[in-house]
């Protein structure tokens, strides 16, 4: 194995380090080898990706098996698409809540609520989809330090704003009124979340625009087409989210940026 690189990992905490983790991921991608010293194996049980959660394959985003969302299925595809985002959010806040003991109490209350809401959204979609259209995504947050409030809140803001834009943009493809109603009931809760997270980052800010820090940075929220949302979410999802038969036509919202 002279032409293959070897990474020696002597402690579990090394995998929490962004550089080590990136090296590890890169190495695995080119057929390299990593040597886990016994101290690692005894210290981290079967927690493959060292995120505090057992189970789940490690892998860079967009490296896993394809998860196909086929828009030829009509509303089922829209629900699957929303389900993917809710899986991502629910997973994210579950990790956040497990690591937020150092955060201010006010943060903890909000983040705990968000975790519950997103899990409930995920589970509702899971029931609606039935096993025939179900799938499970694995996540990868790169070197995000879940103990760092600033990093956690910035990622939460990304997810919540993206969720709002995703529902606002996908609603135009919904055929069944019951599904449109359900999307409407959820998107405003995501918007409530987005405002709360933004206010935790920049309290009482009125700063407007794409880079604005305000709880409501624009008079109209964004409406993104599914492919744009998927591209943004893919950066955190191991499986390759594949949109088949995605509609070519997209009606832009007032911000004309979807």
């Amino acid at each position: 194995m002279s032409d293959k690189k070897t990474l020696v990992i002597s402690s579990a905490s090394q995998l929490l380090d962004g550089k080590t983790r990136r090296d590890f991921i890169r190495l695995m991608g080119v057929g390299g080898a990593a040597i886990f010293l016994p101290s690692v194996l005894t210290s981290c049980s079967d927690d493959d990706d060292n995120d505090g959660f057992d189970g789940g394959p490690i892998g860079p985003p967009n490296s896993g098996a394809p998860v196909v969302v086929d828009f030829a299925k009509g509303d089922i595809a829209i629900i699957q698409f929303a389900y993917a985002l809710e899986q991502l959010e629910a997973d994210f806040y579950t990790r956040v809540v497990a690591n937020m003991s150092g955060f201010p109490a006010a943060d903890q209350g909000i983040l705990g609520d968000l975790k519950n809401h997103e899990i409930i959204h995920r589970e509702a979609f899971k029931i609606i989809l039935t096993p025939a259209n179900d799938f499970t995504l694995n996540t990868n947050y790169g070197n995000l330090n879940f103990a760092d409030r600033t990093s956690v809140l910035a990622t939460a803001r990304t997810f919540e704003d993206l969720g709002v834009a995703a529902y606002n943009g996908a609603a135009q493809y919904i055929i069944n009124l019951n599904n449109l109603r359900l999307a409407g009931k959820i998107v405003s809760v995501e918007a409530r979340h987005a405002a709360a997270i933004r206010d935790l980052i920049a309290p009482k800010s009125g700063s407007q625009g794409d880079a604005g820090t305000s709880f409501a940075p624009k008079a109209f929220d964004d409406a993104f087409r599914p492919s744009k949302v998927a591209a943004a979410a893919q950066g955190f999802i191991v499986e390759r989210v594949t949109l088949n038969n995605a509609p070519a036509a997209f009606v832009q919202g007032p911000n004309n940026n979807g």
Binding site: D113, H117, N168, L177, A191, G206
Partner: protein, 276 residues
């Protein structure tokens, strides 16, 4: 059913056909049909008649979309003037909160202008702004944006924003066939939700609605929160999803509920001079 019509029906969602057939039967039995339907039928053009009829039967005729826009415009007028007056009132809004309300104020005024533009683009004339009475015809006696009335201002703001979210949501059905208007309305709808979240948290409440609680708002605002404690989503009772995830409170928080136009009208009429 003629063969021609049958063929046409085959390409349409069964739910729509059922609705159209019901409505067709009603019209055949003497229910009012618009002049467009009657003109199309008189011309013997079944496809044209169906095209017009399906819109009317499903409730998305252009006139219906304009009605939604006029209804939204009324609510945005109510909010915009409320914040215009609040921000202009000396000593009402503390300095540290002014950025919040100047932001909301600006958004509501943009919404007013946008809705007026959309209505005009539909070839209709936007309704004029009514005269508002922010005491709610005595529900909040003496409220006049006075320097000592910030708590009342905040309470009304929360009630208006939470109403706005539910009101837009309740109109989505009528916009399902007009994608540009649906999308525009949704991008306003979620901004109202951001406003609601911020104002609620400014008042020390959660940014989301728990059960059907109006928190500490006056009794007359209960209509704003009625039926928010709904557990039926997509035809399924989802209360059990709260097990281990915040209980039934979290389930109600996770879904905002719509209000009908009638319910919203009941809520806002006290604030409109001349309304019943």
């Amino acid at each position: 059913m003629t063969t021609q019509l049958k063929t046409l029906y085959d390409s349409i969602d069964p739910e729509i056909i059922e609705t159209v057939e019901t409505r067709s039967a009603e019209i055949a039995n003497g229910a009012s049909a618009s002049s467009k339907v009657m003109a199309a039928l008189a011309l013997g053009s079944v496809p044209i008649a169906l095209g017009v009829l399906s819109k009317e039967a499903y409730g998305q005729a252009p006139a219906d979309v304009v009605d939604v826009l006029q209804f939204a415009l009324l609510l945005e007028f109510l909010e915009a003037e409320f914040y215009n007056r609040g921000v202009a009132a000396a000593g009402l809004i503390p300095a540290e909160d002014r950025a919040i309300f100047t932001t909301i104020m600006a958004h509501e005024n943009v919404h007013v202008a946008a809705l007026q533009g959309l209505i005009t683009a539909k070839g209709q004339r936007p309704n004029a702004k009514p005269t508002f009475d922010y005491t709610g015809k005595g529900l909040l006696p003496g409220f006049n944006f006075g320097a000592t009335q910030y708590a009342t201002f905040l309470a009304l703001s929360q009630a208006f924003e939470d109403t706005g979210v539910r009101a837009y949501k309740g109109q989505a059905d009528r916009l399902i066939n007009d994608k540009p208007i649906l999308t525009a309305a949704l991008t306003i709808h979620s901004v109202e939700a951001r406003h609601a979240s911020e104002v609620r948290r400014l008042r020390g409440k959660k940014g989301w609605i728990t059960q059907n609680s109006r928190d500490d708002l006056p009794l007359f605002t209960q209509a704003v929160y009625q039926e928010e404690d709904n557990f039926t989503q997509a035809g399924l009772n989802v209360v059990a999803l709260g097990n281990g995830n915040g209980g039934s409170n979290a389930v109600t928080e996770a879904f905002d509920e719509p209000l009908t136009k009638q319910q919203v009208t009941f809520i806002v009429n006290p604030f409109i001079v001349g309304a019943p």
